[in-house]
Structures are given as structure tokens and as C-alpha cells.
Subunit: 326 residues, 2 copies
Amino acid sequence: MKNKNQQTLSESFIINNYLKKLNFRKKESFNFENDGAYLNISQNNKIVVSNDTIVEGVDFFPIDNADSVAHKIICSNLSDISSMGATPYCFNLSLGLPKKISKKWLNFFSSKILKLQKKYKFFLLGGDIAQTKHIVISATFFGKLNNRRIIRRDGAKINNDIWLTGNLGNSFAGLMFKKNIIKANQSIKKFFIKKYLYPSPCMIGNKLGLIATSAIDISDGFYGDLDKLLLHKNLGANIDVESIPILPKLKNLIRLHKIKINKLLSSGDDYEILFTSNPKKRNFINALSKKNKINMTKVGTIINKKGIYTDGKILSLNKRSFQYNF
Amino acid sequence: MKNKNQQTLSESFIINNYLKKLNFRKKESFNFENDGAYLNISQNNKIVVSNDTIVEGVDFFPIDNADSVAHKIICSNLSDISSMGATPYCFNLSLGLPKKISKKWLNFFSSKILKLQKKYKFFLLGGDIAQTKHIVISATFFGKLNNRRIIRRDGAKINNDIWLTGNLGNSFAGLMFKKNIIKANQSIKKFFIKKYLYPSPCMIGNKLGLIATSAIDISDGFYGDLDKLLLHKNLGANIDVESIPILPKLKNLIRLHKIKINKLLSSGDDYEILFTSNPKKRNFINALSKKNKINMTKVGTIINKKGIYTDGKILSLNKRSFQYNF
């Protein structure tokens, strides 16, 4: 479903050929190679900025509930803020709405946002409403660093551990059920579709500064997002696929050949955090994981050789997902 | 063309009923009653934030050149930043593009932005690309205050002078020519259509702090925008219509009954600045106007009586334009 690359001109082509010249090489933009950017107000007061747009028929189904749409535009941005090591502050909302939009839709949409605002503590700063043919929602989020450093995509070092929060693949499995590509009993189906409609962002942003050398949120598939951590420095990764955290009921679907593990690891937006860390931090991370009740699992190691290796074999390019934000 | 109120549910209805509850009454949002908002980083380091979205077929014609589209999304935001007393810093861009978008379009679009970036000194911080059925472009702009105060909509005081920068109505006249509603010779037509396609924002932001008690940019018609300066305090305005700065060639079209003056003052986005000021500042404003080569014209006075009065008569509501940003 989330396939922005259908365009004749890919996102990366547009970014590299038309947009990169516009950042004037300012460090605040990270040359469009990070989950977001920052406003350089003062040395100790940087504000992290992320931006995400979702479109009816591309990023969600026209029949999806308004509260799922609200959940997605908010949580995809929260996830970016978190992966940069920041905590949510406020956001700007650009609402492109078709004429047919109903009071009921607006009520569900805004009520869900209110719930998330109370849960994650942020507020609506401002925005704009426009009339569009289909729903197009863009949000610009602001995060505070509270004197911590910004976590970037390009900080991984050789021999760093590779960690994942939470469990992978639930959102992708939900999408497969939603599209009727796979079948199972009603409760399993319901469970995963809920994970697809309401993925939960991992909000460990304010802890990342203590442990991570680099980080990214899983929004385009594990392999594709891992690749983005590697490409800056021509590093590689050894991945122990067996160790990747997957729920038993999803493992069961894999065992039954309903879902292929490589497909699952190349798709889906779970909004979990993938980060790299110095091996010296292992005990600290395990303690942090316990204390905050957030699963953190070591799934591999950064190596001094290009490519992603699983069981000693290099992963071929077409198994990865490629998606660039700028 | 710019008629976002076609929606069954008006912008103000959506804002008041569904969105206002989301600002948690934070002062940074101005309760969605200003041209923009601000990030309260520290007392002396506020960052002004504005947001504007333009849609193909609503805010511009599908056949309009890409450089006009670029001009509009940038200049409508620059104008908001300026009217709040700030200078441009950087911006985030959300590009909703249909599959059919061409390299030529992207080239014209990005080249125009680059030109404006060099002229007004700001850079692209980041953003997002999405696939849409028609072009939907949203930009979030950031402005710096350089230790000046934010100019708000609600600061006008009784007996304040009402000032306008530049000339009004050129963009509206251009729209009338573009839609073939009015006719004139080719050079007149070309002149005004250019003003419609490439309205020039009045970038006096960094001077406004020295002179203005309140300000707004003219993006929805003079009367409608003036009304937004008045409604907070139940104030009114005496307007000397004769003194409103209008180019001789536009005055000529009015004289020939091709354009009605009241229609012209209720429509159009010229991106000039409307501001109020203490009468003691008159000499200073006139000197500033000369020094910066920006026309500034006193067009009326704030009065202690609700309503907008022209030649002693109150203006009826339906002659004003109503458009609310939040």
C-alpha cells in the first residue's frame, strides 16, 4: 500500500536533482539524510523538526476509520521525533479535505488526536485547511532535546551492536489480512489489522542520547531502514535473523508459509526504533529495557564490509525496501 | 478561484468545533487567531511559524506555470512571516505530486524557489514527498525575530492610524483577466496577470516591531483582513476609500466600470501588509517608507464603534471576505 515509488520519478530522484540544491548545505538539514532536521536556535536549545504526509488511497484505505488516519499522521511523526532522541513538543497540521468530509469524520479524527496529545504530551500549534479531491494530511512536528544530543542516521561505528525495540512485522501482517492476501481465524486477523491501523510508536527518544550512536524508526521495512544507517560510511551489518523480535503468533504465520520472513523484513511501518550502540552499553540497555518495560533486542553487529549479511550470505538489493525522506 | 468556503463545513466551523480543543490554550498558538504561531524556545529566542497549503484547481489553475506555483507557496508564507514582524529563516516543504509530474515542471518549480531563497535569504530545512491525484503543496515557514517582539492581530488601539503598504487590487484584477471576466488591451492584461501569478510579498517584517501595534498580510481581501484586526476587541474602523493606494491603470479599470471597487477591496491576495500604528509614529513611518522605497499609505483610523465605515456608512457584512487561517 505505501508505495510512493509508483511515481515515474522516484522520491530520491526528485530530492537529489531538484531539492538538494535548496538546502544551501546548512547543517540543520542534515543534507536531507536524516529522519528530520533541526532549528539551530542556540547551542543548547535545538528544536528537532520532522514532517510526514499521508494520502488517502496511498498511505491508508479510503474506508479506514478517521481515528486510524489520525493515529497514523501523528504516530509516524512521533516516531521520527523519538528516533532523533527528542521528546514531542507541538505540531503544525495541514489538512487537505474533500467537500464530502463529515462532522462524524472530523469528530473521530480530532478526538483521536486529543487522546494522543494527552498520552504523549504535545499540543497543536497551528496549521491550515485546504480543499482537496481526496484526503491529504501533512504534519510538521517539533521535538525538544532537553540538553541531549540529536541522534543521527550516520553515527554507527564498526563493531557496534544493532538493536531493535518492540516486535517487528505486526503492521505488515495486518496489511496482508486487510488486503485478504492471507487468511486466518477472526481473532488473529483482528489482532494484526489493529496493529496495522494503530501502530504504536516507540517513544524512547529521551533515552536514546544515553545509548545510541545512530538510530532510525522502522517505517519502510527493517532491511531498508537498516541500509540507511549503513550507506553513509560504507559500513555493513551481520544480522542474526533468528534473534529478530517477532511475536509467536506472527512466527506461526511464517511457519505456515502465509508470510515470508524476507518480505516481512522489507516492508511495513511498525514505528519501532532501530539503533546502534557500543557493546559496552549492553548491560545498561538491558536495565533500561526492564525499567521502561520496552523490549530491546540485540539483532546484529556493524561490520567493516559493505552489505547486509544474514547467515553469512549477502542480502540481494531487491529484497530491501527503498524509501527516502528528505 | 480561492474559495475554500465551498466546503459544506467552513474552515472556521472546523477550527472552532474540532481543532481549538487541541491547542491546550497554549499562548504559542495564539488560539489560532494570528497569521502564524511561535515556538517558545526562550524569552529572547522565539521562532515564528507559519503554514500555508495550496491546491491545484483551488489556489492556482492546473495550467499555471510551475514557477508561479512555487512563487505562490513561498510568497504566501513569506508574507505571513513578515506580517508577524519576523524575517525568513528556513522552511519545510510537503510536496503532494501526481504521477504525471514532469522533470520540466520540477525544474521550473525548484529553480523559482532557489531564486526566491537567494533574494529573501532562507533555505529548505526538510520535508516530505507524497503521491496525490492533483498537486497539493504545503509549506511550514520559520522566521527569526532578532530580539524584536511578535506583531499580533489583536494589538490595535482606539485612534490608531491604519496603514497599507504597496498597492491593492493588482492580483485580483489579474485573476479577472485570467478568467476572461474582463477585457482590455494586451499590455494591460499581461501586466495584471503577471501580478496575479507572481504577487510580491512586502518584506518589512524587521521594521514592523518599530511601528505597528497590530498587523496582518492582505491575503483574503482588504475588508476581510481588516475585520480580523478588529474583531478581537470589538473595535471599528473609519476607512477613507479614496486614499487606498491603487495603481492609476487599475483606477482606470474601476472608472470604466470593469471592476467594482468594493469587490476589489473584498478579494485578492496582494501580500501587502495592513498595520495599525500610534499617530505619533507618522513622521517616522513616512521616513521609513522613503528610506526603504516601500509605499506606506495611511488609509483610516481605528474607532471605538464596531464595524467598518466608509464615507460615514457602515459596510454590510456580505461585502467582506471571510477566510480564517488557524
